[in-house]
């Protein structure tokens, strides 16, 4: 993936000057500048919530800037809608794909710019255009496949083709690698190189340093909505980029005392299961977690992690295999029974699974154990007891605002919502804590906070199963790491001995069979 690009530094395709974007009192972008040249890959680096996506939504006409100017090819443009952005030759591939699931690849690509013949759609021409453009950029797709039937990597190709079909000169890629396999990432970088050699420019939004080093020419760093610097990527190290991003020297480790793990809490044997499309996704998975141990599950999204957790917590039925907690069978049991047997979990999607946003924080705190004698009597809720319990938790876990017990959970910030879940699950004090991407979308402070409580559970002698797509998180927290690939555990190693290369290879299904 060498960078043999000739960036045309004389041709500025995009210039964003002093962009300010406010949401109410919150300043998401505070005087940000960005210059992109022809044929360049320009990375925008920042933490979650730094304002990268906001800036790009401004450029793509989805948000109107509060103030500031945008020049396209040297001309001042008022980009007030995506159509206008498309006219200006700007295209965007969103992090969450903007694809119509039951439509075909062709229909998705041409949507909004459909070729017509008289009053009817000319789907034959559309299909031909799609084939042509996909061949031209070396991105093979099946034009007749439905989106719901193709892989994530393929869907991303469709997204890129969609942008190219609109004749984009500048492509914005928002966190394009978030759910790709390493091979798909390599492939994506190839595609990006091919595009730039064709004279296109790419703006790459990411918080992954390695990808910036591998792909980008320049990098603009944004922190807390403010412009920090633009650097030539070959002049800086990853560490330097990282400290510019977070504003201090970061150490990627979590303080953790030595601890000898105890007896087995969770034991999964030869688990087979299907995903929501009835495709077999778990193909004989086995693992075990012991007391006082954090077992990290490393892997790319879509290799069976979601289904594994759903089966353990009772949301999904497995085909065969066994799951026990403290020796007791919980295979295909109901969620409540599994909870009672000693499993609590921090779900991946806090707003979908973790909280009832319209319930108060107090009501959310007892979501699993509202039936315990502590909180109800003959079917009547003990509201005072629930409130007292919640107020204690609010204090202990520093949930803000401090008087939030009777507020709807939906009114809290994302970080505080996650704190409510942590407080609830840690307070439940079960023998096994499952955490799935527990820090996704949180800022640095909140991430440290979450990590501290996960480690604390381990130190108290609980078993912790950590599933995360962030390799750094897995490596810094886990005592032991299992790598999941294609529905099986394909490798296991001690946390201390883990190194990224070996893990990365195994996560990509590389051979580790000695």
């Amino acid at each position: 993936m060498g960078k043999e690009r000739s960036v045309d530094l004389d041709t500025k395709v995009i210039e964003m000057k002093n962009i300010v974007k406010k949401f109410g009192d919150f300043v998401a972008n505070d005087h940000i500048n960005l210059t992109v040249h022809k044929g360049e890959i320009h990375a925008i680096l920042g933490e979650n919530g730094a304002g990268k996506s906001t800036l790009m939504n401004v450029l793509y006409g989805l948000y109107r800037p509060t103030s500031g100017e945008i020049y396209v090819n040297g001309k001042l443009e008022n980009i007030d809608s995506p159509s206008k952005a498309i006219q200006c030759g700007i295209g965007m591939v969103h992090q969450h794909f903007m694809l119509v699931q039951p439509f075909t690849v062709t229909e998705n690509i041409v949507l909004g710019m459909e070729p017509v013949k008289g009053i009817t759609l000319d789907m034959a021409k559309a299909r031909q255009d799609v084939v042509e453009i996909s061949e031209r950029y070396g991105m093979a797709v099946d034009p007749d496949a439905r989106i719901e039937d193709i892989s994530v990597g393929m869907q991303q190709r469709v997204e890129i083709l969609k942008v190219l079909y609109r004749g984009a000169q500048t492509l914005i890629l928002d966190e394009p690698t978030a759910s790709l396999t390493p091979q798909e990432i390599t492939e994506l970088i190839h595609i990006m190189n091919r595009l730039t050699s064709d004279g296109k420019s790419i703006i790459l939004i990411t918080h992954k340093l390695k990808e910036i080093k591998a792909a980008a020419d320049y990098c603009t760093i944004i922190r807390l909505g403010k412009y920090i610097d633009t650097v030539n990527v070959s002049d800086v190290t990853e560490q330097e980029l990282a400290s510019m991003m977070v504003g201090r020297n970061v150490t990627f480790t979590v303080e953790k005392e030595e601890k000898e793990p105890g007896e087995v809490v969770l034991e999964v044997k030869d688990l087979h299961g299907r995903d929501y499309r009835k495709v077999e996704i778990l193909k004989g998975l086995s693992l075990s977690v012991r007391r006082g141990e954090i077992l990290g599950i490393a892997g790319i999204d879509g290799n069976g992690q979601t289904e594994l957790v759903e089966i353990i917590t009772g949301l999904r039925k497995a085909e065969s295999g066994s799951v026990t907690v403290n020796g007791e069978n919980i295979f295909n049991a109901k969620p409540r029974k599994i909870f009672e047997k000693g499993v609590s979990s921090i779900p991946a999607d806090r707003q979908k699974h973790g909280l009832v946003l319209d319930f108060t924080v107090a009501e959310n705190m007892v979501l699993q154990n509202y039936r315990s004698p502590e909180f109800q009597h003959h079917g009547f809720l003990k509201k005072d007891a629930i409130r007292k319990y919640t107020e204690g938790a609010i204090k202990k876990y520093d949930i803000r605002p401090a008087d939030s017990a009777e507020r709807p959970a939906g009114t809290l910030s994302g970080g505080n919502q996650q704190k409510v879940i942590i407080a609830r699950e840690v307070n439940n004090d079960k023998d096994l804590l499952i955490a799935v991407n527990p820090t996704r979308g949180l800022d640095v402070g909140a991430i440290e906070y979450v990590h501290r409580y996960i480690v604390e559970q381990r130190n108290k002698g609980k078993a912790v199963l950590l599933v995360s797509f962030e390799l750094d998180e897995i490596m810094s927290l886990s005592d032991r790491i299992d790598v999941i690939y294609d529905g099986r555990i394909v490798g296991s190693m001690e946390g201390k001995e883990a190194d990224e290369n070996t893990l990365g290879l195994m996560m990509a299904g590389g051979t580790h069979h000695e």
């Binding site: 948000y63 995506p82 903007m98 699931q101 439509f103 949507l111 909004g112 710019m113 009817t120």
Partner: protein, 313 residues
């Protein structure tokens, strides 16, 4: 043998007579639901159309002017529904419920103001025309059979044209593609420069227009006047037909024909005294439930159906 052919003719006739109101409204519902707006106000929109059609036809003496105005009156309430649900992001079910009170209320109010009665005067010459009046003389068995079948109003044939037209719009035109996309993933459409709000407005107004026509099919063909009991639940049946037909126009056609056929069956069988007419009347609904359980099952609703689309700026 002759009597079987006779009954069959009557049955087909009855199906053709009772299907149009449902089918017009169902086509309307297809537009709205596929764009992502739940419209349970179809019932009310049919009622106002039923009244307007009969009233305008009576006053102008021209059936087609009446029929068209029926559509317009439905479209007006469609506009109201679109304003509430698309522009103001109102709860779609609640807004639809409001329409179901407002539109019939207005219909009866105007009827009383104009005609001093909740019934409109009978349409003598201003009913919708029959296409094949007098083509078959009914002297032979088969001639009688065809006379039976074709002894219906133009709406019975127009409805097939409308289904084909709606199908064409849905699957062969740019607007149709965008309409379905908006109902599935409005945000994606927004990023592609498709105007989600405008598309939904058009869809909901069209749903009102077609429902209005559906209502007029009752008062200008089946009956010859508007009465408070002209529209009693056909709008809901039309919505049910659309769900039954998995939100596709061709599916709704099948469902509406099934309803129409069962209603026809009721009319044909109602004349014998072996089985209670009330039980026979129940057939369409029982059949629907059974068909649903046995053959249809889970239906896939357009993903964004019922959800207001809020653009962030």
């Amino acid at each position: 043998m002759d009597s079987i052919i006779n009954s069959l003719g009557t049955l087909i006739y009855a199906t053709l007579i009772y299907t149009p109101p449902l089918l017009f409204a169902a086509m309307g519902s297809c537009f709205s639901e596929n764009s992502g707006v739940v419209n349970i106000g179809i019932e009310g929109m049919m009622t106002i159309g039923a009244f307007t059609g009969a009233a305008v036809a009576y006053l102008t003496g021209n059936a087609w002017v009446g029929f068209f105005c029926a559509g317009l009156s439905g479209a007006f309430f469609g506009l109201l529904h679109a304003f509430a649900t698309v522009s103001l992001n109102a709860d779609q079910t609640i807004a639809g419920t409001a329409i179901n009170f407002l539109a019939p209320g207005v219909a009866l109010l105007v009827s009383k103001a104009l005609f001093n009665s909740s019934d409109t005067p009978s349409l003598l010459d201003a009913k919708l025309p029959m296409l094949f009046n007098g083509v078959f003389d009914g002297t032979t068995v088969w001639s009688r059979f065809f006379k039976n079948i074709f002894n219906t109003y133009i709406t019975s044939f127009l409805m097939f044209a409308v289904v084909i037209l709606v199908w064409f719009v849905f699957y062969k035109t740019r607007f149709g593609l965008r309409l379905r996309a908006v109902g599935e993933h409005p945000r994606a459409c927004d990023t592609l420069g498709i105007n989600v709000q405008r598309t939904r407005y058009i869809a909901v107004i069209l749903s009102g227009f077609l429902s209005g026509l559906g209502g007029a099919c009752v008062t200008m063909a089946i009956m010859n006047q508007f009465r408070p009991i002209s529209i009693v639940g056909q709008g809901f049946i039309a919505i049910a037909a659309v769900i039954f037909g998995k939100f596709r126009p061709q599916g709704a056609l099948v469902a509406c024909l099934l309803f129409g056929f069962c209603t026809g069956l009721k009319v044909v069988m109602g004349s014998n005294n072996v089985v209670s007419a009330q039980l026979i009347s129940m057939i369409p609904y029982v059949v629907t439930v059974i068909v649903l359980i046995l053959f249809v099952g889970r239906s896939r609703t357009p993903s964004a159906n019922g959800k207001p689309y809020v653009k962030s700026r």
